[in-house]
């Protein structure tokens, strides 16, 4: 290696640090001017259609693909869940009651075994009109799923309008979901 290249190579860590520091400085400035909130846990999907995917179903039933979400007849929810996830079990009655009110919910089971999934749906009820399974978890990465359960509101043009991470509560349904259903119906 030539001496110059060696010198340049040894400067790389400094360059990385300077770039990082510059970035953090800008973020801090923007936090002070209040047009940036790193705590909002926003979704990249809001205002967009979900990224392309085709996922199989469970127990012989068909799954669904991103194409099926392009133009739903009415606004709907996509709920990420898993049989191994405790908050999902807590959320199950809420989803049941939403489904009972005529809201369409499609589920994507995240890294789940078919047998466990079947037992889960048997036990906690199946509020989902359609279920797809993401066994590899790759679609979850594309969606930016932080953890299960996570719920996405999709309007009639297939655009994501809300992402909620965590189990849906009465409060969230009342103050955030229902206004969206009213707005986009």
């Amino acid at each position: 290696m030539s001496p110059l290249r060696r010198r340049l190579l040894f400067g790389v860590p400094l360059a990385v640090a300077v770039a990082g520091g510059g970035g953090f400085y800008t973020i801090l400035r923007r936090m002070q001017t209040d047009d940036y909130d790193p705590h909002a846990l926003p979704s990249p999907l809001i205002g967009n259609r979900p990224p392309a995917f085709t996922l199989p179903g469970v127990g012989g039933a068909p799954g669904f693909a991103s194409a099926d979400l392009l133009a739903p007849p009415k606004p709907m929810l996509v709920n990420w869940f898993a049989s191994w996830c405790a908050p999902c079990q807590e959320e199950a009655p809420m989803l049941q009651s939403l489904a009972g009110q005529g809201i369409t919910i499609w589920g994507i089971a995240y890294e789940d075994q078919p047998a466990n999934l079947a037992a889960y749906l048997q036990k906690y009820g199946n509020p989902y009109a359609r279920i797809a399974t993401d066994q590899s978890g790759l679609t979850a990465i594309n969606w930016g799923v932080y953890g299960v359960p996570e719920t996405y509101f999709i309007d009639k043009s297939g655009i994501v309008r809300l992402r909620y991470a965590g189990a849906l509560t009465d409060e969230v349904v009342k103050t955030r979901l229902m206004p969206l259903f009213r707005q986009y119906s």
Partner: protein
């Protein structure tokens, strides 16, 4: 009055730390013997001043002096004494003071324990530590002062966050901080070496015990933290890839790499510049981890709310510390050339492989943690990176490390043959394959791979030990004799590897955990994981600053009840907060974990868990830390006791 004294001591500490920095850095250059002698004395004074300040704050906490804002905000008159003390470091300002205290303690350890160091190197190391400390003390004093008074004082404090009222919190932060801050010594050695422009085997030997000590603390701290979140957060998770956890994991990864490559510097005088870079990187990551998390940039469940002006101050400090040291590295490190020559198959190469994979994992975790804020900044795209990403990127990289861990320690320095080593490891390999085949029956491929990997690491480390002691080949007595004659560092390394293997086994076994949420009325039972779980009773019980409802849950196997657990729901009256206190019973190989989530219509909503292997995750961490301690005891023998022995007649040797 006492808080003012503490405040004054803090101000004194800034001045002393500054003097320590200037004297320590300038002294060796000026070749002034008075400066060389003054550096350790200033270090001791510096430590004393911070200790007094810290004790003043503890005093204010113990007597519940609510005129001090920090105490009024985070303590109350009904808080038990233990938590009045631990609450000091449970909040932002106090934890920074603890951080500074530990930093000055590290300096003191070098001043007292480093007497065999050349005076100029020691002065430079102390100087660097002094300057770093000075910066962070200034931060404490100016924007994060724990001694700020409020007037009028509230009648009672706001009380402590109930989740933090736990013995785990008493030990987790100090241990973790000692780990973080301990790497400042390795960092200071690296900077001193860059200033002197010389690194040799002796440098490697001096820096290694410090790196090892802080690594032990960091390992123990992360283990404690993970265990704490497991038993307090009430849903049985132990690692969430939260930015704060990643911030602790990053220095652990680079610190582990540093431990391994400093052996190469010590034994073979190679990889010098790389070792220096790792020392700088490890401390830089510790600093960024501790402070950036507090600046509010990273999204985290560990809520240390801090104002952006503090963030800016921190950023300037980090820029000076990290930027300055990397600039020095860019200017001075190119002249550091290694002298050792080695073949592609050798102990050196194995250690390099270890470094490559550890640093690759660190890079992935680093990128995943920082990607969201930076993409948002550059492209205005908002996204989040969570556990799915980390699991899928880190696990494949951990695989080669696990494989290489078995082989590496058995390779010889300079040039080795792979085949004979692999032949000696046939048993370990066979065990791993057997474990894998047996576990494929569970149809859980990750668990099977993980358990096989863990078994491979543990068995190969034991094989290495058996080979060294010639166990089963020589008579038992000879083997025992050889065992006790082994360098403790070798036993420590073996323990470290076994600990890692045990943790891997625990993590893999946890993927087989079974869980269910049920609502039971007293007298009702449910089945889970082959056991019958019965709710016997729900009743009230008193607590110091809370009232609680306790559920009695009996677990039975084949009709025989073998344990009763008492999970509870606690109502903290001062804060109007309800927490659930999970009941966990362990037999060393699996945890029975019951959480009392809610009470409705006379029934209890219980989360029942059977966690196979969970205790092994933390046992493994402790074994690793213990291995480090064992290895340290060897160093002391070889490097010489940290305190000089007094010769008869009182003269110092």
């Amino acid at each position: 009055m006492i808080p003012e004294l503490g405040h004054f001591c803090l101000a004194m500490a800034v001045a002393i730390a500054c003097a320590q920095g200037v004297v320590g850095i300038a002294g060796p250059t000026l070749k002034d013997p008075r400066a060389l002698a003054a550096a350790p004395v200033l270090t001791l004074l510096h430590f004393t001043a911070i200790l007094l300040a810290f004790l003043a704050l503890v005093w204010a906490g113990v007597v519940s002096d609510f005129t001090v804002e920090n105490i009024a905000d985070f303590s109350s008159s009904s808080t038990p004494l233990l938590y009045r003390i631990t609450g000091i470091w449970g909040n932002h300002d106090g934890s920074i003071l603890l951080w500074c205290l530990i930093l000055s303690l590290c300096g003191t350890a070098v001043a007292l324990g480093g007497r065999q160091l050349p005076a100029s190197l020691r002065a430079r190391v102390l100087g660097v530590l002094g300057l770093v400390s000075c910066g962070f003390l200034l931060f404490t004093l100016s924007v994060s002062n724990p001694f700020t008074r409020i007037w009028p004082p509230p009648l009672d404090g706001a009380g402590m966050n109930p989740i933090l009222q736990d013995p785990g919190l008493a030990f987790h932060p100090p241990v973790l901080y000692t780990g973080y801050v301990g790497f400042s010594v390795a960092f200071a050695f690296a900077i001193a070496a860059l200033i002197e422009g010389r690194i040799d085997a002796a440098w490697g030997r001096w820096v290694r015990p410090w790196a090892l000590l802080s690594w032990c603390f960091l390992t123990a701290g992360i283990t404690l933290g993970s265990w704490w979140s497991y038993y307090t957060l009430g849903w049985g998770g132990y690692w969430f890839w939260d930015p704060v956890e990643n911030a602790a994991l990053l220095p652990w990864l680079t610190g582990t790499a540093l431990l391994h490559c400093s052996i190469v510097v010590e034994k073979r005088e190679s990889l010098k510049a790389w070792t220096v870079l790792l020392a700088i990187a490890t401390f830089s990551l510790s600093l960024s981890g501790t402070f950036l998390v507090r600046s509010g940039i990273l999204n985290s469940v560990h809520s240390f709310a801090a104002a952006p002006d503090q963030g800016l101050f921190i950023l300037v400090l980090l820029a000076i510390t990290i930027g300055g040291s990397l600039l020095l590295f860019a200017l001075r490190a190119p002249v550091l050339a290694g002298s050792g020559i080695y073949a592609p198959i050798s102990r050196e190469s194995a250690l390099i492989l270890n470094n490559i994979f550890l640093c690759a994992i660190a890079a992935v975790v680093f990128a995943g943690t920082l990607y969201p804020p930076f993409v948002d900044l550059l492209f205005g795209i908002q996204l989040s990176v969570g556990a799915p990403f980390f699991n899928q990127t880190v696990l494949p990289l951990a695989g080669p490390i696990i494989l290489a861990m078995g082989v590496g320690p058995m390779l010889r320095w300079k040039r080795a043959d792979l085949l004979p080593v692999l032949q000696r490891l046939w048993l370990a390999g066979a065990v791993a394959v057997l474990v894998f085949i047996i576990l494929t029956a569970t149809k859980h491929i990750i668990a099977a791979l993980g358990l096989a990997g863990g078994a491979w690491v543990v068995c190969s480390a034991l094989t290495d030990l058996a080979e060294r002691t010639r166990l089963f080949r020589a008579p038992l007595g000879t083997a025992l004799g050889r065992f006790f004659a082994l360098p403790r560092a070798a036993i420590g390394a073996t323990l470290g590897h076994i600990g890692f293997g045990v943790s891997v086994i625990g993590i893999a076994a946890m993927t087989l955990a079974v869980q269910k949420v049920v609502v039971l009325k007293p007298g009702q039972s449910t089945m889970l994981g082959g056991y019958a779980w019965t709710l016997r009773d729900i009743h009230d019980a008193p607590g110091p600053d809370y009232t609680q409802r306790v559920a009695d849950v009996t677990v039975s196997d084949d009709g025989k009840a073998f344990m009763t657990l008492h999970p509870s729901r606690r109502f903290f009256t001062a804060q109007h907060v309800i927490t659930s206190d999970a009941a966990i019973r362990t037999n060393g190989f699996q945890d029975i974990y019951v959480d009392f989530a809610d009470e409705q219509d006379g029934g209890a909503e219980l989360r029942l868990n059977r966690h196979p292997g969970a205790p092994e995750i933390w046992f493994g961490g402790l074994i690793m830390a213990l291995g480090g301690v064992f290895s340290l005891s060897d160093r002391r023998l070889r490097v010489g006791a940290p305190f000089r022995k007094r010769l008869p007649g009182g003269a110092e040797a």
